[in-house]
């Protein structure tokens, strides 16, 4: 018996531009990093494949421009893929390439299966709606039409992310960055999604708040068994959270393995550089 992955990604490709004779062939394209100098096409993600198992945290590291966020956007259907497949292991979606579903079906996946925490809370929250409303939005989208129920759920979630309840009806724009981020996490968790995406969640937060948010994420994983994909360029964050890690460079996976293994004994030249440049 082997464990089945909850999310399988196969050969995800995302390019910006049409490509030309120089760069169309996958095997011998002449690129400057991920950029074709003759036609200007950017190959943001090139053949990314990985599995995510139930209850695990998968870390994704790489420098800026390595395709981390583009990959997340593709997985969360914020942007379309150029080609590739993804399979979610639930009874309704089994065997279906989710990239090829209709936009309604994709929205249903976002509402029922996925949770997303963006680097910038502006993208994940409606800043001029109350915090409670923000969480309810996701519940409403999933079909809930009972106010008392949704308020109770929001209250419980906000409490679990340490937002004082007397501020629950306040708009997130009045909150500090760390609080906004925690509201966003509460929102992402509101439907008990089996898969959670975290895109640079602690970037830009001060250290104590960072520790707070990381604690929270770890606790969520322990208590709820949610599978997560954590994107970060901060190796300390990856070391603390991730069970397995993937290293991206120029849109390609150059190394993957257990986090300790990758960070203690990096094989690829770039990973070595990355690990040893840690202050």
């Amino acid at each position: 018996m082997r464990e089945e992955p909850i999310l399988q990604v196969k050969n995800l490709r995302k390019q910006f531009g049409t490509g030309c004779v120089e760069c169309r062939e996958v095997e011998n394209r002449k690129l400057e990093k991920n950029f074709c100098k003759s036609c200007g096409t950017v190959y943001a993600c090139q053949d990314i494949s990985f599995d995510l198992y139930p209850g695990e945290i998968l870390g994704i590291v790489g420098e800026s421009g390595s395709g981390k966020s583009t990959m997340m956007q593709c997985l969360y259907f914020d942007s379309d893929v150029s080609s590739g497949e993804a399979f979610i292991n639930t009874s309704e979606l089994e065997g279906k390439n989710v990239f090829e579903l209709s936009s309604q079906q994709k929205r249903a996946i976002r509402n029922h299966v996925y949770g997303m925490v963006y680097q910038n809370p502006v993208h994940g929250l409606k800043m001029d709606f109350s915090s409670v409303g923000n969480i309810a939005e996701k519940l409403i989208a999933a079909g809930n039409r009972n106010v008392a129920e949704m308020e109770a759920t929001s209250r419980r979630l906000l409490e679990s992310v340490h937002i004082p309840l007397h501020r629950m009806k306040e708009e997130p724009r009045n909150f500090s960055g760390g609080m906004q981020q925690r509201v966003q996490i509460a929102k992402a968790l509101s439907n008990n999604p089996p898969i959670l995406f975290l895109d640079e969640v602690t970037t830009g937060l001060d250290l104590s708040v960072q520790a707070n948010v990381l604690d929270l994420i770890k606790k969520i994983q322990r208590d709820l068994g949610i599978s997560m994909i954590v994107v970060s360029h901060d190796l300390a964050v990856i070391r603390m959270l991730a069970d397995r890690t993937i290293v991206l460079l120029n849109g390609k996976i150059i190394e993957e393995g257990l986090t300790d293994q990758v960070l203690e004994d990096p094989q690829h030249e770039y990973t070595q550089q990355l690990v040893y440049s840690l202050l």
Partner: protein, 288 residues
């Protein structure tokens, strides 16, 4: 030089285009059909959407009634009536029963409409999702994908803030179980009149360049949460100080001399009708 205006102001090409938009709107209940809103001799936002519909569908034998928030004699209603009359010569009326076409700003008359009538509503903001999404491109997609969580969220926010849904007018409705529609800023009191209406309901937004419709005998359901059912404005124990009607939409007025609060029918022609009935009864009984 004074040129003769064409019948009903518009050239036939314009009427044809607007009628086509109306046909499409009727075919897809609650769907906002874009149309080439014309420059009108009144300013946009003053009923140009309704007026364009009225002018496109009116015929020589039609009888027209125009009301502005229940009143037949308000400046806006009178100006529109005059303009249509001057360009068509159709008969005008205040009585709801006599009218073939009723153009209305923000009210549906108290007298039940019949299958031979058409009500044309003037709409300032046709997009029920505008409060949550500024981009037309996105709202169009949301409609096509049946994604109405934004509208529900607005109602949820109101409940959080005020303990109830606080839509004073323009409470969003589901039309034919598919499209969420702004019923134009009619009071919630009038929402139920749209449900399974005998009359055809046409809605026109001139500034926003949209026409939409509720065909006769279509289901229209006001949005409401399970534990916060839809309610209309309540006028318990209140009645019109002129005609005594109780189960109608009332305006609240404050008497400047006495400081007293009084209530009066919002639908002026209905009120007049009731008063005339009372007078007629009085006269007949005193002669008898």
């Amino acid at each position: 030089m004074k040129a003769n205006t064409h019948f009903a102001f518009f050239d036939e090409g314009s009427k044809k285009e607007i009628r086509r938009a109306i046909m499409k709107a009727v075919a897809i209940p609650g769907y906002q059909v874009p149309f080439a809103s014309r420059e009108m001799p009144i300013a946009r936002g003053w009923g140009t959407g309704g007026l364009q519909i009225t002018l496109s569908i009116i015929g020589k034998n039609d009888v027209l009634k125009v009301i502005d928030q229940g009143a037949d004699e308000s400046v806006n209603a009178v100006s529109i009536k005059k303009m249509v009359h001057e360009t068509t010569g159709v008969e005008l009326t205040d009585r709801t029963e006599e009218a073939d076409i009723i153009q209305s700003r923000h009210r549906i008359p108290e007298v039940a409409l019949t299958k031979d009538q058409i009500i044309v509503l003037q709409v300032p903001t046709p997009e029920p999702l505008r409060g949550v999404e500024a981009s037309e491109y996105v709202t169009k997609r949301m409609h096509s994908e049946d994604d109405y969580s934004g509208v529900w969220l607005m109602l949820f926010e109101q409940i959080m803030k005020y303990g109830k849904t606080a839509t004073t007018a323009d409470h969003p409705v589901y039309v034919n179980h598919r499209y969420v529609m702004a019923p134009s800023p009619i009071p919630r009191f009038d929402n139920s009149k749209m449900h399974q209406s005998d009359a055809l309901i046409l809605l026109g937004a001139g500034r926003e360049k949209k026409i939409y419709a509720v065909p006769p005998y279509t289901d229209v359901k006001s949005l409401a949460f399970e534990d916060y059912p839809f309610t209309v404005e309540a006028f318990e124990d209140k009645q019109c100080h002129l005609c005594g009607s109780a189960d109608v939409f009332l305006d609240e007025l404050i008497d400047h001399h006495t400081g007293e609060t009084i209530h009066q029918c919002n639908d002026t022609s209905y009120c007049m009708e009731q008063l005339n009935k009372v007078e007629k009864a009085e006269v007949e009984s005193s002669y008898a």
